[in-house]
């Protein structure tokens, strides 16, 4: 059946894609060496595969990777998910988690300023911190300020910060750092976690201004319901 000629003449406005920025904040300290970091690297590859399979998410989602051990590195600055090149991470050293958190939040603030400068709309940014431990090797006030910054960012709805505890993590310490209860990874189900994360980013539904972010069910990878 031929298309209606009037409808064929409909032109579309060209507006920049809205962006959904997400920072993967990853613990690459010594305790993650061996199986955990290998599974995490697999998970990152799957994340790239899943999210680039969705045409709109590939354009809208933006991913950055920050690692923390005895050092904090921006391994991947923000890039649209379709162009995300998953890093192969190795693990060694201490756990400068506080500094990692500051770096992730700084990256997000800079990105939002960039969006505003360019008239780009965006979703509420996410930080996903994955760790098997607790802050180690940092001055206490760095960690304390990180916790306060997370709390203030959440209260002001500037960011949604999620902590994922890998087996061995100090969940109590994480509870104090993250405004939300930490999610607990079952075994080394990184692949399942990243498939879920990709799906969660793709499925971001319309919410009421002022609503809390609700996550889809996590039982595919977590032993504890979010």
């Amino acid at each position: 059946m031929s298309t209606d000629l009037d409808l064929e003449n409909v032109e579309f406005a060209s507006n920049p894609d809205p962006r959904c920025p997400c920072v993967l904040l990853l613990d690459t300290s010594g305790s993650m060496a061996g199986e955990p970091i290998a599974a995490l690297n697999e998970g990152l590859k799957r994340f790239r595969d899943e999210i680039s399979g969705d045409e709109l998410a590939a354009r809208r989602a933006e991913v950055a990777v920050v690692t923390f051990d005895s050092d904090v590195k921006v391994v991947r600055d923000f890039v649209t998910a379709g162009s995300f090149d998953p890093p192969s991470l190795s693990a060694t050293g201490q756990t400068h988690m506080g500094a990692g958190i500051h770096k992730a939040l700084d990256l997000i603030e800079a990105r939002k300023a960039e969006y505003k400068r360019n008239g780009v709309d965006y979703y509420r940014p996410w930080v996903f911190m994955i760790t098997d431990g607790a802050p180690q090797g940092e001055p206490a006030d760095v960690v304390e300020r990180a916790a306060q910054r997370v709390s203030a960012s959440e209260a002001g709805k500037h960011v949604a910060f999620f902590a994922v505890a890998v087996q061995g993590a100090d969940v109590e310490k994480l509870r104090r750092l993250s405004a939300r209860p930490p999610l607990e990874l079952s075994g080394l189900k990184f692949v399942e976690l990243f498939v879920w994360l990709s799906s969660s980013i793709q499925a971001r539904a319309k919410v009421d201004v002022g609503d809390q972010v609700t996550l889809p069910p996590t039982d595919g990878w977590s032993s504890v319901q979010a």
């Binding site: 209606d4 579309f12 406005a13 965006y122 509420r124 499925a203 539904a205």
Partner: protein
């Protein structure tokens, strides 16, 4: 009254002179996650001349958002029908506010009743709602949430419009069940006759609006008004509209549910220059 979510008998001649074609289509994101279309629309013509219309977008995060959208759109139009049939048409902003405000209130109450029947809370039926009345003298809109309404006046040379309510983030908006929805609703009264009307939920807004300039994209609306004006000469304009809304051209740009309600006054819009 014509009410539709996925399907509506569009294009059938409304009582003269309005030609109305309307469709709501489920988005690919919703289909992927097993959800039905959560958009809805409703319209009616009273007194042979006044068009009453509503479109609604159920919150994806609400369990029964689609039901909320359908209830809100239908309740609003029913309320408008009853109010207009019982009285005269509004003549100033205050009386327009009363008329449309009551229709919004009817939508809120309809949702509250249905929520109770389903054993849930009104927020489980959260939805945006855009209500419009077009009479021979004026056109007025009350809008809660995103989406937009665009009306063609002065023979199509002048577009009147509303813009989506802006929250900070692109996926946040106000619903009829939100705190302060009545108070924050946008009211627009255009005191001149219009010849064309388009109502959309947010699925299409990035295709229809020049977001940076903050106004409708003329190339989107002019052919659509022409389509509506000529609809009674087409074999199945509802099907044509549905096919357009399901076309690859649209789906490469949005994965959300889409609703497009089009109305035109044949003989007033159809012959006019773009």
């Amino acid at each position: 009254m014509e009410v539709g979510s996925r399907q509506s008998p569009g294009g059938r001649s409304a009582p003269a002179p309005w030609r109305v074609v309307a469709r709501s289509v489920a988005g690919s994101a919703h289909k992927k996650h097993g959800k039905p279309c959560q958009d809805a629309h409703a319209w009616s013509v009273v007194g042979g001349q006044s068009l009453l219309a509503a479109v609604a977008d159920g919150a994806g995060s609400a369990a029964w958002g689609g039901i909320g959208a359908a209830v809100a759109a239908a309740s609003a139009v029913r309320s408008l029908e009853a109010q207009i049939q019982n009285g005269t048409l509004p003549a100033d902003e205050a009386t327009w506010k009363d008329l449309l405000g009551e229709a919004l209130q009817a939508a809120i109450e309809g949702i509250a009743e249905r929520a109770e029947e389903e054993g849930g809370e009104p927020r489980d039926l959260a939805t945006t709602l855009l209500i419009c009345v077009a009479t021979p003298a004026a056109c007025a809109v009350l809008q809660v949430g995103d989406g937009c309404v665009v009306a063609a006046a002065r023979g199509g040379n002048d577009l009147k419009f509303t813009l989506p309510a802006r929250g900070g983030y692109v996926n946040e908006t106000t619903f009829v069940t939100s705190e302060g929805a009545l108070e924050s609703a946008q009211l627009h009264v255009w005191s001149e006759p219009i010849e064309g009307l388009a109502m959309l939920t947010d699925g299409l807004q990035r295709l229809a609006l020049d977001m940076a300039a903050g106004r409708p994209f003329a190339g989107f609306f002019a052919p659509l008004f022409a389509f509506a004006a000529r609809s009674e000469d087409k074999a199945d304009p509802g099907e044509d509209l549905e096919r357009f809304l399901r076309s690859e051209r649209v789906w490469s740009r949005t994965d959300d549910d889409v609703t497009l309600l089009l109305a035109a006054l044949k003989g007033r819009y159809g012959m006019l220059p773009r």
